[in-house]
Amino acid sequence: MKRLAFVLGALWPMSALACDGTGLPLTSLDQNAPRVEMFLDDMQLAQPFSVKIVVCGDRIIQKLMVDAIMPAHQHGMNYTPTVINLGEGAFRVDGMLFHMPGVWEIQMDLYDQTGVTRYTQTTELQ
């Protein structure tokens, strides 16, 4: 048990996943939407990267779907990212790939008992 905790900790520093305002907030038009923070540490042009997402509060989340588009070029990513539920509102999204520099809009759909809530955030990659 201790050993497992250690391994997980090494892969995923738990402190980075806390809902403490250190992540980039995703915004939603829905005023009742729970706060969501995103961590984009290893974003690199044309290389796969992972994003960490924390949903604050204690809603029970059924599903999270993440995608991204380049608004200026009318296209999205060439890959479907994989979302892994880490528990306690934390998720890791693998297989994100931004193949061109410029502005990307990350889109997230959060599914829970109230329905679907859409979140977005733009980020610029050089």
Partner: protein
């Protein structure tokens, strides 16, 4: 006193130097185009990647027509080592004229996709396809096994993989392709005059950087700026290794089209020779995420893999169909791009550039430095 004198001597003795004319933003973009070469990464899906014996056998097989059923074609018939690992014809000539230009097979280690339409996600699969393609070398796994075991290569093959007759024909085919991949993996172009410039910028050595011609620097500015070339030709390989419509017609003749990435993906998704498949030697299936998660969309139709620009000056003609004879023609193509030829659901990146003749020759001068090896 003495010091001042030496400085003055150096100043007068030096050749006339251009200045570095790039802005700080352009310098940081330029740094992203290196360093070169990349760290070699062994291909975990190929257990003979990096093996000297396999590289030697792969090199030997590469030029041997034994890999074609009627002993008429070698890999080198279309990828000639003496001509930048391609041949100067528009469309490759196999048993018939193929739809596409033979790409050079250098700098392929570590790529995510291979072929103009990305029908392979690894180098050994890309090397296997031509052996069995009916229009190319036309072997079956069976006929390859028979030919190899009767050839002078049998000894080297068995030293690496064990008795050839005890292996399935398909295993022999895959093993053969893996030696060809091991060989091609070590084909890496040398650092160029552009890299000397880029590295000098990184070291803030403006004297050394100033030796890069001003014309090439102006061309680089167009490449990074109004030409928008770096949108797709990015990173040390000058390619994002993804698929785009660069406005090259995709009609093969009046009745057929080259579907590019669309068709490439269909071949890939049906192939047993991917990083996710049983023929990969990597138990962790590193890299398989790409074939598992890649999206097939209508927008893939008629898009082609962004080619690397390293060494490109030596590998005319250009584009997937070899339709443009030289680099000036490529730059003119982008300069006058025909938007009506672009897909309606295209990316709206390319547009006519309105470059002057002087700017066209600057951009060409820059592209040439990506192939120029300093002595």
């Amino acid at each position: 006193m003495i010091r001042g004198f030496i400085c003055a001597m150096l100043f007068w003795g030096a050749p006339v130097m251009a200045d570095v004319i790039l802005s700080p933003v352009e310098i940081s973009q330029t740094l992203s185009l290196g360093p070169w070469p990349p760290e070699p990464e062994p291909d975990k899906s190929n257990r003979v990647s990096g093996s000297r014996a396999a590289i030697a056998l792969g090199e030997d097989l590469f030029t041997d027509p034994i890999l074609s059923k009627d002993a008429s074609l070698a890999c080198s018939s279309c990828h000639d080592p003496a001509q930048g690992f391609t041949v100067p014809v528009s469309r490759a000539v196999g048993r018939e004229i193929l739809d596409r230009n033979s790409p050079s097979v250098v700098n392929l280690g570590g790529l995510r996709w291979f072929g103009w339409g990305g029908k392979s996600d690894n180098l050994w699969a890309a090397s296997l396809h031509p052996i069995v393609a009916e229009q190319e070398m036309a072997h079956s796994a069976q006929s390859l096994q028979t030919a190899l075991s009767a050839s002078r290569h049998a000894v080297a093959y068995e030293a690496i993989f064990g008795p050839i007759d005890q292996q399935s024909p398909e295993a022999v085919l895959v093993n053969t392709a893996k030696t060809l991949a091991a060989y091609q993996e070590v084909l890496v172009t040398l650092p160029t005059t552009f890299d000397t410039f880029r590295d000098a910028l990184e070291q803030r050595d403006h004297v050394a950087a100033g030796r890069y011609s001003e014309s090439a620097q102006r061309g680089l500015q167009i490449f990074l700026g109004k030409g928008n070339c770096i949108m797709c030709h990015s990173g040390p390989r000058f390619s994002n290794n993804e698929f785009h419509d660069a406005g090259v017609p995709y009609f093969i003749d009046e009745t057929s089209v080259d579907t590019g990435r669309f068709g490439g993906l269909n071949i890939l998704l049906a192939s047993p020779y991917t990083l996710a498949g049983a023929w990969s030697d990597d138990e962790t299936k590193h890299g398989a995420w790409a074939v598992q998660n890649v999206r097939q969309t209508h927008a893939n139709f008629g898009t082609f893999r962004t080619p690397s620009l390293r060494g490109a000056a030596d590998t005319a003609p250009y584009m997937h169909d070899g339709s443009l004879p030289d680099l000036t023609a490529v730059v003119r193509h982008y300069n006058e791009i025909n938007l009506e030829r672009m897909h309606a659901d295209g990316e709206a990146i390319l547009q006519p550039l309105n470059l002057s003749e002087a700017e066209i020759s600057d951009l060409v001068a820059f592209l040439e430095t990506l192939s120029e090896v300093p002595n």
